[in-house]
C-alpha cells in the first residue's frame, strides 16, 4: 500500500504539485471572497486570509509531508540540491574532499593491515570455532609447544568442549628431491586428524587421514600446497602417487591442498604437510617423538570448539586438564593453567602480552586521529560557508522549509562530501596497501603479505565516511537550527560571528592537540629507530656475504654435512678477493637462534630464574675473523679442536661477567644440561656482539667449534675485499659443483640482512607509518589554524578599521590578532601533551632506549609545532595590521 502510493506519488509528482498549489490557493481565495462578502475591502481580505492560513507555501509543505514516499522524494531533492551547491563551489569541494580522502585513505590502509592480521578468518570450515592452546607455567611464563603425548592427553580429556584437537609442528625447512634436483619446502608436521579437524577438501588426491601418523616412521606421505604445486610441478595432476624424497627419505605425494589455503598458521605460507610420525625419520629429531613426553617437538595444538561452545566455556575445562597433567608429570608439565585463544591469521603467540592487538590498536587510533583532524578542518570550512549561506538558509525557511528539513539538507551535503572523500580515500588506500604488499621482508620464510581489499575493508571505509559526514555536518547543522530567521534576513551579513568564532576556536584547539599527539608518537618511534640503528652491533657487517644451506635437505647426515661445509669453506677461501670464509650455525638477524641450559660449578642462579641459560652457536675457527669480533683473552678455535678432542668454548664478556665475575675465566668448565657427557672448557673470551634480532639485549653467549656442535641449517660467511654481492654467483657455482642437490637460501650481504624483519625493518616500518600519519596531522593542523585565524581577522576588518581610526597602533592590532592565535595554540599544546602522555603509557613496550615520556621528544616536537602554528597565525595577523581604516569602514 505504502509502496504503491509512493510509486504513484513519485510518478505523478508534477501534476500533484500543480494540483496542491491550485487547491491551497483556491482555499485562500475563497476565504478572501468570504471576507469580502462580509464587508472587508478586497486587498486587506486577501492578506488576512493568507495570514490566517499560515502562509501558502508552508501549508503546501505540511501537506506534502504526509504523502507516502515524501521522505525519499525530499531526500532526492536534498541530494540534487547538495550536489549543485558542491558544484557551484568547486574550490571548497576539492579541498574538503581531498582532506577527507587523506583521512579515510589512511584509515583504510591501516585497517586492511589489521584485517589481514587479526580479522580475516582462515579459509576453513567455521573458522570462528578454532582456537589454539597456551599453557601457563608455574614459573610465570607461557608456552604453546606441546609434546605428542600431551596432544593425546589433552585431546582425550577435552571432548566436552572441543569436537577435535589437532597438532601442528609449525615450521620446518625441508629439502624436497624430485627428478634429481632438490627444492626447498617449508613444511608442517601434523597429526593425522589435522585436515579432518579443519574440515577442508583437497584440490586433488587425498589428505593425511586420522588413522595415519600414529606409528613412528609409518605413513611416508606428503601433501603439497596449491601454490607450491603450481610453482614447482606445473599443476601436473600426475604428481599424485609420485615417489619423491624429503631430506633424503622416500615419501609419496598423496594430495594437493585447496587453492588459497596457506596452512592453519596462515601468516606463513606452508608449502607441504607430512604426518608427525615422519618427524623422527626426515628430521634430525629423535626417533621417539611420538612417545617421549620430555623431549618436546613443540607442536601447536589447535582445538575446534563444539558448535555452540565458546572460549569462556573452554577455559575451566583446560585449567582442570593442566592441573591434572602437572600433578601426574610434575617434572615435565610444569603448568599452573592452560587457556584457549582465538586462532586468527596472526601467528599464535605464547606471550602474556600480545603485542599485535596493541600495535594494531595504536595505529588504528593514530589513523583515527588523522581522520578526526580532517573532519575538524572540513567542519570549519562548512562553518565558514554556513556564515555565507545564512541568508540562503533564511530564505529557504521563509519558503516553508522546516528546521528539520534544513538540518537534513546540511547533513546530506556533508555526507555527500564524505562519500566523495570515501571514494578518493579508497583509491588512496588501495595505493597504500599496494605499497605495503610489495614490502620485501628479506628472508627465506615464505610470508605472504596480503592486504587485499575485501568487503570488511570496504564496509569499514564506508562506515568511516558516514560517521565523518555526520561529525562534519553536526556543528553547522546545529548552528543553522539556532539561527533566527528574522535576524538573518534583516542584517547585512555580520551575523553571530561571536558564537561561530568560539566554535571554530574550540575545534582548532582540538586540532592542535591532536596533531601534537600524533607528532609526539611519531617522534618517539623515530627516536626508537635511531636508537636501534645506532646499536653497537659488536661485529662489522660491511663486506660480508651470507649463504645459508641445510645439508639434511640433500639427504646428508650430520657427519657428512659437517665435512661438506668444511670442504666448501676451504674451497671458497682459495677464491681471489676473499679475505676469510667461515661456517656458523646461526648468524645475526637470521632465522634461528639457539641456546642451552647449563650447569656451572660454583654458581647458584637466583631463585626466580631457576636455571642458567646462555645462547649458543657452532662456528668454524675463522668465524671471529670474518665477523671481526675481537678476542679479549685466551685463544680462538683451532683445527685441532675436532669432534673427538675435549670440548672447548669461547664465551662473550657478558657471560664471563655474569657467571665468573669476569675473573680467571680461562680454563673454567661448564656442562650443557642436554649433553652431560662432554664438559666444556673455556679457552677464550670475545667482545659482546648482537647475535639474534637487533632489538634484543645482549645476554650470555658461548661459541663451540663447528666440529663439536654441528647444527643445520648453517651459514657460509665470506668476508670479501670488493663488493660482497659480486662474489655470490661464483660461490654458488662452487656449491653446485660439490653437490648439485644442495638448496641454498638467504643469499644476502650482512648489511642487507640488517634491514630484514629481524633487523630494522619493523622499526623502520613503524617509524615511517607513524611519521606519515604525524605529517598528515601537522598539515591538517596548519591549514586549520591558518584558515580560522584568517577568517576571524577578515570578519573583524570593520572593527579593526574603527580601532585604527580611533588611534590604535599597528603593533596593537598585530598583538590583538596574534594573542588570539597564541591562546588557541597554547591551550592546544597543553591538551596535546596530556593526551600524548596518556597514549605513551600504552606504547612504552614498543619503544627502544627511551621511555614513553621522553622529555626531549616532547620538548622538540612541541616547540616545532608551536613555531609552525605561530607562523600560521602570523600571516593573518600581518594582514589585519595592514587594514586601511578608510577601506574597512567603507566596506559593506
Amino acid at each position: 500500500m505504502w509502496l504503491k502510493n509512493a510509486v504513484k506519488n513519485w510518478m505523478g509528482r508534477r501534476r500533484a504539485e500543480a494540483e496542491l498549489d491550485e487547491e491551497v490557493r483556491g482555499y485562500v481565495e475563497m476565504a478572501a471572497e468570504e471576507k469580502v462578502r462580509n464587508g472587508a475591502d478586497a486587498r486587506g481580505a486577501r492578506r488576512e486570509a493568507i495570514l490566517e492560513a499560515g502562509g501558502v507555501e508552508q501549508v503546501k509543505e505540511q501537506a506534502r509531508e504526509v504523502r507516502a514516499g515524501h521522505f525519499l522524494e525530499t531526500l532526492w531533492q536534498d541530494i540534487r540540491y547538495g550536489a549543485r551547491m558542491l558544484r557551484k563551489a568547486p574550490g571548497f569541494t576539492a579541498v574538503a574532499v581531498l582532506t577527507l580522502a587523506l583521512g579515510i585513505g589512511a584509515n583504510t590502509s591501516i585497517f586492511s593491515m589489521v584485517d589481514w592480521l587479526m580479522l580475516r578468518p582462515l579459509p576453513v570450515k567455521d573458522a570462528g570455532q578454532l582456537t589454539y592452546l597456551v599453557a601457563q607455567l608455574k614459573s610465570g611464563g607461557y608456552e604453546n609447544g606441546f609434546s605428542f603425548p600431551n596432544y593425546d592427553d589433552i585431546r582425550n580429556q577435552s571432548t566436552s568442549v572441543f569436537s577435535n584437537v589437532a597438532g601442528v609442528q609449525p615450521f620446518q625447512m625441508d629439502g624436497l628431491n624430485a627428478d634429481g634436483k632438490t627444492m626447498q619446502i617449508w613444511t608442517n608436521y601434523v597429526t593425522g586428524n589435522f585436515f579432518e579437524m579443519l574440515g577442508i577438501k583437497p584440490a586433488l588426491g587425498r589428505f593425511i587421514l586420522p588413522s595415519e601418523g600414529k606409528v613412528a616412521g609409518a605413513d611416508p606421505v606428503l601433501v603439497l600446497s596449491y601454490s607450491y604445486w603450481q610453482a614447482h610441478f606445473d599443476e601436473d595432476p600426475n604428481v599424485i602417487g609420485r615417489k619423491v624424497a624429503v631430506n633424503g627419505q622416500p615419501v609419496t605425494i598423496i594430495g594437493i591442498a585447496p587453492k588459497g589455503f596457506q596452512g592453519a598458521l596462515a601468516i606463513l605460507d606452508t608449502q607441504g604437510y607430512l604426518p608427525v610420525s615422519m618427524a623422527g625419520t626426515t628430521l634430525a629429531a629423535k626417533s621417539d617423538v611420538l612417545t617421549n613426553r620430555q623431549d618436546e617437538i613443540g607442536m601447536i595444538l589447535i582445538g575446534r570448539l563444539k558448535p555452540g561452545e565458546n572460549l569462556l566455556a573452554a577455559q575451566p575445562v583446560l585449567r582442570v586438564i593442566a592441573k591434572r597433567l602437572s600433578s601426574q608429570y610434575p617434572t615435565i608439565d610444569k603448568w599452573s593453567s592452560m587457556e584457549a585463544r582465538k586462532l586468527t591469521a596472526a601467528p599464535p603467540s605464547a606471550g602474556n602480552s600480545q603485542p599485535l592487538p596493541v600495535i594494531a590498536g595504536l595505529f588504528l587510533f593514530l589513523a583515527g586521529m588523522v581522520l578526526l583532524l580532517a573532519c575538524v578542518n572540513v567542519a570549519n570550512l562548512l562553518l565558514v560557508r554556513a556564515g555565507v549561506r545564512g541568508r540562503e538558509m533564511a530564505v529557504r525557511a521563509a519558503l516553508g522549509a522546516g528546521r528539520g528539513r534544513l538540518m537534513r539538507q546540511l547533513f546530506t551535503e556533508s555526507i555527500l562530501l564524505a562519500l566523495l572523500g570515501c571514494a578518493g580515500g579508497i583509491a588512496l588506500g588501495i595505493g597504500g596497501s599496494r605499497a605495503l604488499n610489495s614490502l620485501n621482508l628479506g628472508t627465506a620464510i615464505p610470508v605472504r603479505l596480503d592486504f587485499n581489499f575485501n568487503w570488511r575493508v570496504f564496509s569499514y571505509a564506508f562506515a568511516a565516511a558516514l560517521l565523518t559526514g555526520i561529525v562534519v555536518g553536526f556543528v553547522p547543522a546545529i548552528r543553522a537550527s539556532l539561527g533566527n530567521l528574522n535576524e538573518v534576513l534583516h542584517e547585512a551579513g555580520r551575523t553571530a560571528t561571536g558564537r561561530r568564532q568560539r566554535m571554530s576556536s574550540t575545534l582548532v584547539v582540538a586540532q592542535v592537540a591532536g596533531s601534537l599527539m600524533l607528532l609526539i608518537v611519531a617522534g618517539l618511534f623515530v627516536r626508537s629507530l635511531r636508537n636501534v640503528q645506532h646499536t653497537n652491533l659488536g661485529f662489522d657487517p660491511s663486506h660480508v656475504l651470507n649463504i645459508s644451506m641445510d645439508p639434511h635437505e640433500a639427504g646428508y647426515d650430520s657427519a657428512k654435512g659437517a665435512r661438506f661445509l668444511h670442504d666448501l669453506a676451504e674451497r671458497v677461501r682459495t677464491l681471489p678477493g676473499v679475505r676469510s670464509a667461515s661456517i656458523a650455525a646461526t648468524v645475526p638477524m637470521g632465522l634461528e637462534t639457539y641456546g642451552a641450559d647449563l650447569k656451572i660449578v660454583g654458581y647458584e642462579p637466583p631463585k626466580d630464574q631457576g636455571s642458567i641459560f646462555a645462547g649458543e652457536n657452532g662456528v668454524s675457527p675463522e668465524y671471529f675473523e670474518t665477523m671481526n669480533i675481537p678476542l679479549v683473552e685466551g685463544r680462538g678455535f683451532l683445527d685441532s679442536d675436532e669432534a673427538n678432542a675435549p670440548h672447548v668454548a669461547i664465551i662473550n664478556e657478558t657471560m664471563a661477567k655474569k657467571y665468573w665475575r669476569g675473573k680467571d675465566t680461562l680454563g673454567r668448565q661448564f656442562t650443557i644440561v642436554d649433553d652431560p657427557a662432554h664438559p666444556v672448557q673455556i679457552v677464550g673470551v670475545v667482545k659482546d656482539s648482537v647475535t639474534g634480532s637487533i632489538s634484543e639485549t645482549i645476554g650470555p653467549y658461548f661459541y663451540l667449534p663447528f666440529t663439536q656442535k654441528y647444527i643445520a641449517p648453517a651459514t657460509l660467511q665470506v668476508r670479501t675485499k670488493a663488493a660482497p654481492e659480486s662474489m655470490a654467483s661464483g660461490i654458488l657455482g662452487i656449491i653446485r659443483e660439490i653437490e648439485p642437490a644442495m638448496p641454498t637460501f638467504d643469499v644476502q650481504t650482512m648489511t642487507k640482512a640488517l634491514d630484514t624483519i629481524n633487523g630494522l625493518m619493523l622499526y623502520r616500518l613503524g617509524a615511517s607509518l607513524a611519521a606519515l600519519l604525524g605529517c598528515l596531522g601537522l598539515l591538517l593542523a596548519i591549514v586549520g589554524v591558518y584558515g580560522v585565524l584568517s577568517y576571524a581577522a577578515s570578519q573583524r576588518t570593520h572593527e579593526i578599521g574603527i580601532r585604527v581610526a580611533l588611534g590604535a597602533q599597528r603593533g596593537q592590532i598585530l598583538k590583538m590578532i596574534f594573542r588570539q592565535g597564541l591562546l588557541i595554540v597554547g591551550v592546544g599544546l597543553g591538551v596535546g601533551i596530556l593526551a600524548a602522555l596518556g597514549i605513551s603509557k600504552m606504547i612504552g613496550t614498543l619503544l627502544v632506549g627511551i621511555g614513553g615520556a621522553d622529555p626531549l621528544t616532547y620538548a622538540v616536537v612541541s616547540t616545532f609545532l608551536a613555531i609552525v602554528a605561530l607562523a600560521a597565525c602570523w600571516i593573518p595577523a600581518r594582514r589585519a595590521m595592514k587594514v586601511d581604516p578608510m577601506v574597512a569602514l567603507r566596506y559593506e
Binding site: 491551497v24 482555499y27 485562500v28 481565495e29 490566517e52 492560513a53 504526509v66
Partner: protein, 109 residues
Amino acid sequence: MGNEQTELLQGTLDMLILKSLALGEMHGLGISRRIEQITRGTFQVKPGSLFPALHRMEEQGWLKASWGESENGRRARYYQLTRTGRKRLGSETERWSRISLAIERALEA
C-alpha cells in the same frame, strides 16, 4: 498557526472530517466551515492541519477527491467518503462515544 491546537485535535480531527463529509462531498474551505458550524465554533481547523489530514486520509483510502466547480464558479477539489471511510466513521463514532461516556462518568463520580 499554533501547534498546540493541532495536538488537541489529534484523533478527533479525522472523525470530524469524516462526519462533516457524511452528508455529501465538499471542498477544503467547506469542510473547515462545516466543522466550525457543527461544533458551534469550538474547533477551528486551519489549512495547515486540514490539508495534511485530507491528503493522508485520501492515501489511506477513506476519502476520494475530484475536481469540481464551487458555488462561485471557482475550480475546487471536492472530497467524498469512500466505503472504507464510511465504515471508519462508524467505528470512530462508536469509539468516541465510549470514551466520552467513560470520561463523563469519571468526572461525575
